[in-house]
C-alpha cells in the first residue's frame, strides 16, 4: 500500500509541483495544507505517513507546526522544503523533530529519496 503524504506550503504552485512529483513516484498525497495551523489540524485528521513542511508561512510557521505535530505524535516523519537555507534555521528545524531539510528549488529525485529514507 502506498505511503500517504501531507503537503504543506503556502503557495499553490509549490503544492501542485510537489503533488506531481510525489504522485508520480508511488506515494499517495492524502491532503494539502496552506499554513502551519492547517498542517497540524490535517495531520491529526488524516494521520499521514509523511509530511512535507514549508517554513515561512502565514498564521503558524513551519518550525512551530513541526513542534506541535511532534508533541501530538513523537514518531511523525516530517521533511522540510524551504527557500530559506540558513544554517541556524536548518538546525532549528532538525532540533524540532524534522527528519530532513531540502532547500528550494529542490531536485525531484532528492524529494523522493528523502521521502523513502524517512519512511523506511
Amino acid at each position: 500500500m502506498a505511503k500517504t503524504v501531507l503537503i504543506t506550503d503556502d503557495t499553490a504552485f509549490m503544492r501542485m509541483t510537489l503533488r506531481n512529483v510525489i504522485q508520480k513516484n508511488g506515494f499517495h498525497v492524502i491532503g494539502e495544507a496552506a499554513d502551519g495551523e492547517e498542517a497540524v489540524s490535517k495531520y491529526k485528521e488524516l494521520q499521514p505517513d509523511l509530511v512535507t513542511m514549508d517554513i515561512t508561512m502565514p498564521k503558524m510557521d513551519g518550525i512551530t507546526a513541526i513542534k506541535e505535530i511532534i508533541k501530538y505524535d513523537a514518531n511523525a516523519k516530517i521533511i522540510v522544503c524551504s527557500a530559506m537555507g540558513q544554517k541556524p534555521m536548518v538546525i532549528e528545524a532538525l532540533n524540532a523533530g524534522a527528519r530532513d531539510f531540502l532547500v528550494k528549488p529542490f531536485d525531484a529525485q532528492r524529494v523522493i529519496e528523502a521521502l523513502h529514507k524517512a519512511s523506511s
Partner: protein, 201 residues
C-alpha cells in the same frame, strides 16, 4: 563608504550566484545568465527618481526582515517579463496572469529573495527571520512609494540590480535591498573585521 558598497557588492555577488542556480533549476535546465551590476546606495530622493517609468505596470514580490537583522527586500520585474516567466513555469500561453501564474511568480520571488537572505545570513553568521512574502501588481511608481514608506526610518536605499537572460526567454528585473541603517552599520562593522575587499578581487 566605498568599503560599504564593496561589502554590499560582495553580498550581491554571493546572493546572485545562489539565485542563478536556483532560478536555473526552476526553469528546468534552461541556460541562464545573471549579472549583478555595481551596488548603488541612494538617498530616498534619488531612489524615487531611479524609476525609468513610473507608469509601467510591474510585478513585485517583497519581504521584510524582522528580528535581529531588519530591512526590506523586493524583487520587481516588468509585467511582460512576469507573464513570460509564469507561462514558462506553468506551461500556459496566456497574456494575463491567472491565480496559479501569480503563485508561481511568488515562489520564484520567494526563492530569489531567500537566496539573498541566505547569503546575508552566511556573511553575518546570524539567523534572519523574513516575513511571509507577498506579491503585488501595480504601477512602478506606486510600488516604489509603498516600499520607501514601509522602510520607515531608513535613510539610504541600496539597490542591487539583477538582469538575467536565457536563450529562450528575455527576462529582466530589479532586486532591491533596503537594510535598516542602524543594523547595517552594526552588520558592516561585524563583517568588515574579518573581511577585506581587496582579498576578494
Amino acid at each position: 563608504m566605498n568599503n560599504k558598497l564593496d561589502f554590499l557588492q560582495e553580498l550581491g555577488n554571493i546572493g546572485a550566484s545562489h539565485a542563478t542556480t536556483a532560478l536555473s533549476q526552476m526553469l528546468q535546465d534552461t541556460k541562464l545568465e545573471l549579472t549583478v551590476p555595481k551596488a548603488r546606495m541612494l538617498s530616498f530622493a534619488e531612489a524615487a527618481n531611479f524609476i525609468a517609468s513610473r507608469e509601467e505596470i510591474v510585478v513585485c514580490i517583497y519581504t521584510r526582515m524582522i528580528d535581529m537583522i531588519k530591512g526590506d527586500m523586493a524583487f520587481i520585474m516588468p509585467f511582460s517579463c512576469a507573464v513570460t516567466l509564469a507561462n514558462h513555469l506553468t506551461g500556459d500561453d496566456r497574456e494575463q496572469l491567472n491565480e496559479i501564474g501569480e503563485s508561481a511568480l511568488l515562489e520564484v520571488g520567494n526563492i530569489m529573495l531567500g537566496s539573498y537572505i541566505t547569503a546575508l545570513s552566511l556573511l553575518s553568521d546570524t539567523k534572519i527571520k523574513p516575513t511571509v512574502p507577498g506579491i503585488v501588481i501595480d504601477m512602478n511608481g506606486a510600488i516604489w512609494q509603498s516600499i520607501l514608506a514601509g522602510a520607515g526610518v531608513t535613510e539610504a536605499v541600496t539597490i542591487l540590480d539583477t538582469k538575467f537572460s536565457t536563450a529562450e526567454l528575455e527576462l529582466s528585473g530589479h532586486l532591491i535591498f533596503i537594510p535598516d541603517n542602524a543594523v547595517f552599520e552594526a552588520l558592516y562593522q561585524k563583517v568588515s573585521s574579518c573581511w577585506k575587499p581587496e582579498e576578494t578581487l
